[in-house]
Symmetry: C2
Subunit: 145 residues, 2 copies
């Protein structure tokens, strides 16, 4: 059981952008700091833009900024949006009822309940919580001289 | 986010074996009923045997049976045993601390808490709960004449 790398990177990108108060942030900067490929960061930034979390400006001094307050970015909501395959088992997929015992399956209900509990914990967090140790985050995300 | 097919099949195999009170169950029977490959079922049965959930007898009339009472088979424990990759994000792996912000990461704690909530729900279930609709399961797992 694992979150996708995509969701993981979405959370890291938002944390990075949220930590930088001054000026816009570039894709190259994020890729360098987390040691992840520019290509990955580009896809993540595009999707976060589509979902209204980031705005991007072009040209000199351009880059991305948060498009909403960190306290408005809910982590549970974000994970639901980014995890395209949040179906814990095959029968969670819409239209997939290949399993013989589905009509009498107690496990399906138990797994739904467990997934609900997982997401309910994340629903209690916003990006503002993730940014609380801001001074330390800022230090960790600043290149050493 | 998804359980592995292996864990899914472990749960299905135990449900099947637990539903059949009379006589031992064969690998071929399970493979046929769930439409999954014999090879997959064999691997799953081997592992469930290793973990003490199933016993197997050879020869004519042989096959597998539960090695403990269904009420003693806890679903949370089983999922922890079978999910070799229950590390939600890369930094959960022992020895992997490549992420720049790990020392100040609030998300890591939130994800640990969410995973705990997920497993805590499954800890409340045993195989006996999964077998509660036994008459219906038995009907669904019996070949139509």
């Amino acid at each position: 059981m694992r979150l996708t790398t995509f969701t993981d990177y979405c959370l890291r990108v938002l944390t990075y952008v949220g930590t930088k108060d001054e000026g816009a942030v570039t894709i190259g900067e994020i890729a360098k700091h987390y040691s992840i490929s520019r290509n990955h960061v580009m896809k993540v930034v595009f999707r976060l833009g589509q979902c209204g979390y980031l705005t991007t400006t072009r040209g000199k001094g351009g880059g991305m900024r948060l498009a909403m307050a960190p306290s408005e970015i809910n982590i549970g909501t974000l994970v639901r949006q980014m995890e395209t395959d949040i179906d814990l088992v095959e029968c969670f997929e819409t239209g997939n009822n290949a399993c013989q015992i589905m009509p009498a399956c107690v496990l399906r209900g138990a797994l739904h309940q467990a997934l609900g509990a997982f997401l309910a914990v994340l629903d209690k967090y916003t990006l503002a919580d993730l940014l609380r140790p801001k001074a330390e985050l800022s230090r960790l995300l600043t290149p050493s001289a």
